[in-house]
């Protein structure tokens, strides 16, 4: 239909979402998207700014993500501590970690600009300040909660790193403040990896900001400063973490992401992701978007339990984990695999090797279980 093709793509996503205000793209969403880039469902939901928790609830899956008031309080207290006294603790850590005589620095609070908290206003101000700091050699200014932008799957994401330092030894550093503890210099590796992935998103966005301003991106460090509590105390501890690997991975994944608009354009005209609509309408639209469920989705995606039931329904091997999936190459359903085992179906040529191995394993299982 020609009328749809002429429609700006943004509108299509906005119409899918309905009258609800869009949920912003966050660094966390981008890392989740790159963790499972084949998932068209999540790509469209995020690009359209749909409230996934609410959507999951509407289709009968009470979301189980939530933050404990204790964790929230601890996080806020720790952030407050690092930023207290004009970022005194952060400046101390920079001094220790980068071994440079940073005696003092100014801090600009970018949580608001003249009372305005709108993202685009903060983003403009951030760009102005970056240009200012980058042009003068001696400007010592730490940006507190700046706003950067990044194109993701055809959408503009607004990102808010905790801080960006001024040029130290010729490099700008992204700072992340996290409240998981580093015990004897070692923090939970999963938490650190997640922080590093998010930091990579910020560094990439920062490079883009430099590019747009015509500034050399070599000034941006490929390391970021992770600040977290030391041992069992509340005292901030910092460590520079190399991001080159994460940056490469992220850039690669971002190029692989299918443009959300193209995915949305394939949906039927009646499709809707408006959370005020009926369960049936929503389910039909969600089903029209291909998901790529793996058990790891359960740890980060609000829709995961919906997708898991769907994967159960079509007996997808991936739902049983990577081990099973890898043992069933080319076999797209566990039911098919069981049919091969029972001998009620014959495997195709490409599946013969895997099916033979499965049958040999099943035979051994039968024999050796009896032997005991």
């Amino acid at each position: 239909m020609p009328s749809q093709q002429s429609e700006p793509p943004d509108d299509r996503l906005a119409r899918l979402r309905g009258p609800q205000p869009p949920q912003p793209y966050t660094a966390r969403k981008i890392t989740a998207l790159t963790a499972n880039p084949a998932c068209a469902r999540r790509a469209v939901l995020d690009a359209a700014g749909v409230d996934k928790a609410l959507l999951a609830q509407q289709v009968g899956y009470e979301p189980r993500f939530g933050q404990s008031p204790f964790a929230l309080a601890r996080e806020q207290a720790f952030h407050g501590l690092v930023k207290w006294g004009g970022y005194a603790e952060l400046i101390r850590l920079l001094r220790e970690q980068l071994s440079v005589p940073v005696a003092e620095a100014h801090v600009t609070d970018l949580n608001e600009v003249g009372g305005n908290t709108a993202l685009h206003v903060r983003e403009r101000e951030t760009r102005r300040l970056i240009a200012h700091v980058a042009s003068g050699q001696d400007v010592r200014l730490i940006l507190d909660r700046p706003v950067l932008t990044l194109e993701v799957a055809g959408q503009t994401a607004y990102l808010e790193p905790d801080a960006i330092t001024h040029r130290i030894e010729g490099k700008f550093h992204v700072v992340l403040i996290r409240s998981f503890a580093a015990i004897d210099g070692q923090a939970n590796p999963t938490a650190v990896a997640e922080a590093a992935k998010q930091a990579a998103v910020y560094v990439l966005a920062l490079r883009r900001a430099f590019d747009t301003a015509g500034l050399p991106t070599e000034q941006i460090s490929h390391e970021f400063l992770l600040v977290c509590p030391k041992d069992f105390s509340n005292r901030p501890y910092g460590r520079l973490i190399d991001l080159r690997q994460e940056l490469d991975a992220l850039q690669f994944q971002l190029t692989r992401l299918r443009r959300a608009e193209d995915l949305a354009a394939q949906l039927p005209e009646t499709a809707t992701l408006d959370t005020t609509r009926s369960t049936d309408e929503l389910s039909a639209s969600i089903e029209a978007l291909d998901a790529s469920y793996t058990p790891s989705c359960l740890s980060f995606c609000e829709m995961a339990r919906y997708c898991r039931d769907e994967a159960d329904g079509c007996a997808s091997p991936a739902r049983l984990g990577n081990g099973v999936r890898n043992d069933l190459p080319g076999i797209d359903s566990t039911r098919t695999a069981l049919d091969y085992l029972d001998g009620v179906a014959a495997p195709g040529e490409a599946e013969t090797e895997a099916a033979d191995l499965l049958r040999a394993a099943a035979r051994l299982r039968r024999l050796r279980r009896g032997a005991a």
């Binding site: 404990s68 069992f232 105390s233 058990p295 984990g321 081990g323 043992d327 566990t334 394993a361 299982r365």
Partner: protein, 505 residues
Amino acid sequence: MSVLSTVAALTASRTGRAEPLTTVRHQHLDEKPFVLVPLTLAGEACAPLAALVGTDPERPTLLTVRQPRNRAERFRFAERLAALLLAYIDGCRTETEPYTVGRGREKEERLRFQRAPQLLVPNGEGIAYVRLLGRLTRLRATEGPYAVDSSVPTLGKWLTWFAELAEFPNSGVLLAMTRLLAAHWATGQSPSEDSHLASLLAWIDPPEGSDGARAAREAEDPAVWPPAGPSTDPVFDRTLHELMTRYDDASDDRGREAVGRQIDRELSGQMLPTWRLMWRGVELLRDLPEGAHVPDRWALDRRWFSEYAEYLDADGRPQARRDQAVRAARRLARLEDAVTRYEAERAYDDPLVMAEYELTGEAFTGTVTARDEDRFVPGDRPGSQVWRPTITLRTSTDTRVGLAVGTEVKSPARPGQAARILEVRQEDDGGHTVVLQLKGGFANKRKPPAPAGTLAETGEELTYTTLNPTAMPSALPDEENTPWTHGGPPQPYEPTDEDAEETWE
């Protein structure tokens, strides 16, 4: 994850019931294990909130911290846990038995306790909790401005000992129930879902009238089955937060005590379901017969326990914050050795585990079709003859034999007898004929006839494998003899004032 466990998972996903992965239990389960179900405060590195502990399934002891941000209360929790755990450990230090170490001139007789402590926690995070709580408490000073009760650092040293041994697959002093169950059963869900104790047990032992798949999903609801800890359910945290605020704001002691009791009740309610699941898991595991090597491994645990108890009495300095290089290298070597040995022992004890090696071609099973009892071959000395009988095995039609001529193999049926593959021939029907030369294992006889039972009979079915549980471990010099190139003998860690003062907030 092997293809055999994939087949088991596929079957489970069809039947809705977990499938056994083993025919025996590969871990020691003590008559009186010490079960620990911990909870911690969200957002903190290690802030104990509560625990259900004990050795009696009917009577768990409830430990709670009504105000987890209070340092004194935290140490009081550590003291109460110490009182229970240390008493349990002491209870294991009664009767001893002799054993020998070394060979030849270095042979030495030592004593080990007949019992050792066994700590059971719900999941892998529970092991991490034991390690963190150990780290937090073992370096504390018992005198000076930040003094704690003397039981606190002792608790820390023992907890660290448990946590360090938990990394060794052949040790059973600290075990996570989810890992233990998942090693013995395959479910029709993913390994990450198996780390949820309630849903894992739902697959293995579904409630009457339900199937495992459905029960497992129901078990995921935190309102019905609270998380097995140490992390709490965020929704429950809201209730707890409210109660703790009321506890702090209470105008008098009586009011505070009333809220305190309510906190205790709520926390207990969060842990009791897990406590029951733990003991259900123990029961299910006890129903499995014990693997043949399990008592040997437990004897090793008892030896380690005896040695550490002795060390604590004699020296008693705590484990360092971080391992020194020499210790770390030694530990890594021991760990690698333990893994190989454990894998081999498991396969020897359990035909279903051996089947994994048969599938990959590292083992094969066949029937003895012929034997040459009177065979002699030239020995190393010129003109000498040594007795080396052979047996011929015939494998079934579709068995793979992935081993080459010259390979040294052994059979779990006669682990003391070395065998060497002389010939492998594929037959027309697809099966293989394998000729094996045997050496030793004839009750010290050097010439025929072979004593009864030492030489396989015709018609006997045997499995041969390259796995060898008695392979000698790699040898490193004694710690005291660490060469100067490697920094010389490592010095034990001395806790500093900083350790004693370390904040716990």
